[in-house]
């Protein structure tokens, strides 16, 4: 699939929580071709600081309008710069990169933690199967804007918070075994911090339900050239940026 390097135009952005923003960017090439699970890399300036482009999973597209969404947490240099961008400002976009989610299943359970929910938001909006449920892992009730984002795209939203300020107290793994028993899911899709994904895979695997994970690793080029983001697969080395970021849970052995 063709990849593009384009200057996108910021259409707007707003706060979803104290440190999470959603940004809409006009970039028709990306909006028309991106699939759920794919990502773009961003550069906000032409300077050598920050040097590397930063990867973000595409959080949604409006194919007619020619725009796409990014949901990001303000944590480092690039995201601090992104936060200052105004409507009409330009931003360099490289993408769409990598391979997205397999969408050939019927009933899906999406499980996400933090901004790992961003690519799942795109998946929920563009899932051809019969029903989609989402299990949302948040730190506190402040992050439960996710429920609103998923409400019109999923049949059911189940929330957990670390501090118990909303939904089930605990982590996504707390309600998961019960959900898998009753949910009749054909596929589980996970995106979030690695320990969370490992814990989810450990619970899903014995059930035999196919499970896809979306990995994140520090990347250099995003094009499969620099080999900064490789990990071990079955009988081969895999590149998170090019062979992933979405893998079947058994496809990668160490991540």
């Amino acid at each position: 699939m063709t990849k593009y390097l384009v200057d996108g135009t910021i259409l707007g952005q707003r706060s979803l929580s104290p440190d999470i923003r959603v940004m809409e960017i006009k970039a028709p090439e990306i909006a028309k071709t991106a699939e759920p699970g794919q990502f773009v890399t961003i550069k906000t300036n032409h300077l050598s600081v920050p040097l590397l482009r930063r990867p973000f999973g595409v959080a949604g597209v409006d194919r007619e309008k020619g725009s796409f969404l990014l949901i990001y947490r303000v944590v480092g240099e690039t995201t601090h710069l992104m936060e200052t961008l105004k409507e009409g400002d330009s931003i360099s976009i490289l993408g769409p990169l990598g391979h997205g989610f397999d969408r050939t299943h019927k009933n899906a359970l999406l499980i996400g933690g933090g901004v790992g929910l961003a690519p799942l938001h795109f998946l929920a909006a563009d899932y051809p199967g019969a029903q989609v449920d989402v299990l949302i892992g948040a730190r506190t009730a402040k992050e439960l804007f996710w429920t609103e984002l998923f409400r019109d795209k999923t049949r059911r939203q189940i929330e957990t918070t670390d501090d118990g300020t909303w939904g089930i107290k605990g982590m996504v793994t707390t309600p998961l075994p019960e959900l898998l028993k009753e949910g009749q899911y054909d596929c589980v899709y996970v995106c979030g911090p690695s320990p969370m994904m490992r814990a989810v895979v450990d619970i899903v695997r014995p059930t035999g339900i196919p499970c896809q994970i979306s990995l994140e690793k520090y990347m250099g080029c995003g094009l499969g050239a620099c080999l900064s983001c490789t990990c071990s697969g079955i009988g081969r080395r895999v590149k998170v940026c090019k062979d992933g970021p979405v893998f079947w849970a058994g496809e990668v052995t160490a991540w």
């Binding site: 390097l5 550069k43 250099g220 499969g224 080999l227």
Partner: protein, 310 residues
């Protein structure tokens, strides 16, 4: 776009290697070239220098392999590559479809291994080999060859004896006197020199209180190292007669011009490929415009103009 008039001024011969433009790619930053085909017309760059290739496949280093530092990056990829046999069988036929030069960067554990690799790569489709005697990220070989005149010369001789291709030796900046090594590899029969490889550096995470990189130390590249690279090209240009391919933090045509003035006959774009994947091609346009505006008929007229005897 680079027109015919521009192309004429840009063509250069580095030892036996005729290049359409004086721009290649730094090994490890451009994969095998094919990864960049969506952004670069591979026919329009002087040469593709491919990822470091070894006799056997290598998985590379464990743990985090890259981290950003001020105006630079540290990497400890550790020469992950599929091995020379896979390169010859699967990658080279694809590269042959492009009208460009192919420089294969090779790395061995011993002088004999460099010789064996050179012999295996003495085939149609390969135009030059670049001896990587300066990788800071591998346990054996690598940097050890690049910091000793005797060991560097042995590697060059071993490769030289078993190939008809242009032999380029890539020097490490992690030495007290870069000119000593440059003279040693020239005397041993290297046709050209490329420099610089990365500078050894490290970063510590103040929260975990551990080194960030899986291999503790890594190689620093990017604009942060450019002044060091320009200085070393300038020194080596005065020490040897063989041509130099200059590299180290080149991110614009202006940066490239500096290297030509310091004595480089050609340049390589490295880390900047990650910022702008078109750069290996577009940088030539800026170089050509500079030549035209300043009334230079050829890039070769620019080489070494900043040297003290010019």
């Amino acid at each position: 776009m680079v027109n015919a008039e521009m192309m004429k001024r840009l063509s250069v011969k580095v030892a036996g290697l005729s290049m359409k433009t004086p721009v290649t790619t730094a090994s490890g930053t451009f994969g095998f070239g094919l990864e960049f085909a969506d952004f670069v017309d591979l026919n329009q760059i002087g040469a593709i220098t491919v990822k470091g290739t070894t006799l056997k496949p290598r998985p590379g280093n464990q743990g985090q392999r890259i981290v950003e530092t001020p105006s630079g990056i540290l990497n400890c990829v550790g020469l992950e590559n599929p091995g020379v046999e896979v390169f010859l069988k699967e990658t080279l036929p694809k590269l042959k479809q492009y009208d460009t030069r192919v420089i294969v960067n090779i790395d061995g554990d011993s002088a004999d291994e460099y010789g064996e690799l050179a012999a295996m790569l003495d085939v149609d489709g390969v135009d030059a080999i670049e001896l990587n005697i300066s990788c800071p990220n591998v346990a054996q070989g690598g940097l050890a060859f690049g910091t000793s005149c005797t060991a560097a010369a042995e590697v060059v001789k071993a490769a030289r004896a078993r190939t008809h291709k242009t032999v380029i030796t890539k020097l490490s900046p992690n030495v007290t006197d870069i000119t000593e090594i440059a003279r040693a590899v020239e005397a041993a029969g290297s046709d050209a020199i490329s420099l610089i490889n990365t500078l050894v550096g490290m970063k510590i995470d103040i929260h975990t209180r551990r080194p960030v990189l899986g291999n503790t130390m890594g190689g620093l590249s990017g604009p942060a190292v450019r002044p060091v690279a320009v200085r070393m090209v300038y020194q080596v240009a005065q020490a040897v007669r063989i041509p130099i391919i200059g590299m180290g933090g080149i991110a614009s045509w202006e940066d490239a011009i500096e290297f030509f003035l310091a004595g480089a006959s050609a340049v390589a774009v490295g880390t900047a490929n990650f910022q702008d994947p078109r750069l290996a091609q577009t940088i030539s346009e800026g170089i050509a415009s500079y030549l035209i505006e300043n009334h230079f008929d050829s890039i070769q007229d620019l080489v070494g103009l900043a040297l003290p005897d010019r």
